[in-house]
């Protein structure tokens, strides 16, 4: 049985009169990757900054058992600091070294002699992750870890994150990329209007929403997506409709819905 590494209960946060977090409660289990999802302005960064200790919250309680590492959404280093100098400076302040295999996996050696201003966005993100991993934290916070990265950089960083989990780290991340969350996270929490609208696995989310099927149909008129709980009836109905309109079905796919589709459904509904 997994232990709880972080317990958040009845968290509330207001910016003047705007209530951003309204009674948020959830647990994060040891060793899991927990994703926090939400539309823009749902309070993802606010909740993460409260957890990281960067923001004072008004009410509630946060319990964290263990050391934390933080990779911020927007962070920077002095322009003329070299990568190896940053690694040395941070290791001296943290009284910790970075494992050699992580240094290798993140490709830090290849950029060691470059100054921060010479690094690409991907290289900067890798360096930020390396600095956050220094000292082997028990709980790692990643705020939009792959924002602004190309496909290769994103894939490499995903591998690094999975590697961290294999080494026993617990990871809490926020992301806009649903594919990323679906492939990386063991459980997700969906924030809607300052409250956790859902907490659980992607499968549990699909189950909770009802057994929905998503039917994508391509014809000369373009692509159409149908949502249904009754697959057989709907398929027959679609075929009849296309026949009546004298349209050829060029391609048809049926699936149980992606996280993105489920997420939009949750965001659309008031209750699930």
């Amino acid at each position: 049985m997994m232990d709880t590494i972080m317990h958040v209960s009845h968290l509330k946060k207001k910016y003047q009169t705007l209530e951003v977090l309204k009674d948020v409660s959830f647990d994060v289990k040891k060793g899991e990757i927990f994703g926090i999802l939400g539309m823009n302005g749902a309070g993802k960064t606010t909740i993460l900054e409260c957890l990281e200790g960067f923001l004072k919250y008004d009410e509630g309680q946060i319990e964290i058992h263990g050391q934390i590492g933080i990779q911020l959404q927007s962070s920077a280093l002095p322009a003329y600091m070299k990568v190896k100098e940053a690694m040395k400076l941070f290791s001296k302040w943290k009284h910790a070294q970075l494992d050699e295999d992580i240094v290798k996996a993140l490709g830090i050696q290849e950029i060691a002699d470059q100054t921060y201003r010479e690094l690409s966005t991907g290289q900067q993100r890798r360096l930020h992750l390396a600095l956050a991993l220094m000292g082997h934290p028990d709980l790692l916070f990643l705020d939009e870890p792959t924002a602004g990265l190309d496909v290769a950089g994103r894939r490499a960083l995903h591998e690094n994150i999975i590697q961290c989990q294999k080494q026993g780290m617990t990871i809490v991340l926020t992301s806009h990329d649903m594919n990323e969350v679906e492939s990386l996270c063991d459980r997700i929490g969906i924030l809607r209007q300052g409250k956790m609208a859902f907490i659980g696995t992607v499968e549990e989310l699909a189950k909770q929403l009802g057994r929905y099927y998503y039917i994508k149909v391509n014809s000369q008129e373009g692509e159409k997506v149908y949502t249904t709980q009754h697959i057989q009836q709907t398929l027959m109905q679609i075929c009849q409709d296309y026949q009546k309109q004298n349209l050829d079905i060029l391609d048809m796919t049926v699936n149980r819905g992606t996280l993105e589709q489920h997420f939009l459904e949750v965001a659309r509904r008031n209750e699930i």
């Binding site: 990281e52 200790g53 960067f54 923001l55 004072k56 946060i62 964290i64 934390i68 933080i70 911020l72 927007s74 962070s75 920077a76 280093l77 002095p78 322009a79 003329y80 600091m81 100098e85 040395k88 400076l89 941070f90 001296k92 302040w93 943290k94 100054t115 930020h128 600095l131 956050a132 220094m134």
Partner: protein, 243 residues
């Protein structure tokens, strides 16, 4: 302590790499010194007596007020501050390392003026070199602590440039390093007394040293350090760190 020591050494190296502090701490003050040294000493031979002190005060004021604040604002006004805090680097580290690194640069620049003045322009050397350098250290510390207030309080680079100039220009014009303050209207002379450069210049040229001038600089230093501490505390209080 080792981390702080490495941080100061690293900052010193980055200052040289970045060139901006190199320009404000060495290039411009030394070029100004060479130019003014040749002009002043040829048209006013009596300026040889004050050349070393006046050019040092000018160089220190420029390096401190123009050079240091942007480097501080670059850290405390951007995400670098958050990055440091997230990685357990104390909030005072950046300003302290920049302060000490700039102190080393300004002392080196002042040392160069001390060596070159008599060699190039036959300038008068201080009777008590040790005392001269003790007073110089006090003046550099005061100037840098005021520069720290600017960098910690004003994070917008455009505004900071303006504020730095507001402090720097009276320091040069009203402190007596370019012409005697007795030539100024009395209200400008009074404004000049608010500038540490006025008291620093007096300490570097006066023989014997007036203790009252030392006290004034010490008082400015204490007040400036208290303000820096308060500004750092307000930065610190905006973060609630987890245990």
């Amino acid at each position: 302590m080792k981390a702080l020591g490495y941080g100061i050494y690293l900052q010193w190296k980055m200052d040289i790499r970045s060139r901006s502090l190199l320009i404000t701490c060495y290039l411009v003050p030394l070029l100004f010194f060479l130019m003014m040294g040749s002009v002043f000493t040829s048209i006013m031979p009596e300026s040889q007596e004050t050349l070393m002190a006046s050019m040092t005060v000018m160089g220190v004021s420029m390096g401190a007020y123009i050079g240091l604040p942007p480097s501080i604002a670059e850290i405390y006004g951007t995400d670098i501050k958050k990055m440091y805090m997230a990685n357990h680097i104390p909030e005072y580290f950046a300003v302290l390392s920049l302060f000490l690194s700039a102190f080393i640069h300004l002392m080196m620049m002042s040392g160069l003026i001390y060596i070159l003045s008599p060699l190039l322009f036959d300038a008068t050397c201080p009777i008590h070199p040790v005392l001269y350098f003790v007073m110089l250290i006090l003046f550099v510390l005061v100037s840098l602590s005021i520069a720290c207030i600017l960098g910690l309080a004003v994070h917008n680079q455009a505004k900071l440039t303006m504020v730095s100039q507001i402090i720097f220009l009276p320091s040069i014009i009203l402190s007596g390093i370019m012409f005697p303050v007795s030539l100024l209207p009395s209200f400008l002379e009074t404004i000049g007394k608010l500038c540490p450069a006025t008291w620093g210049y007096l300490l570097l040229i006066e023989q014997p040293i007036q203790l009252s001038n030392v006290y004034i600089l010490c008082m400015i230093l204490i007040v400036a350090l208290v303000i820096c501490y308060a500004l750092l505390r307000s930065i610190r209080s905006s973060f609630r760190h987890l245990p």
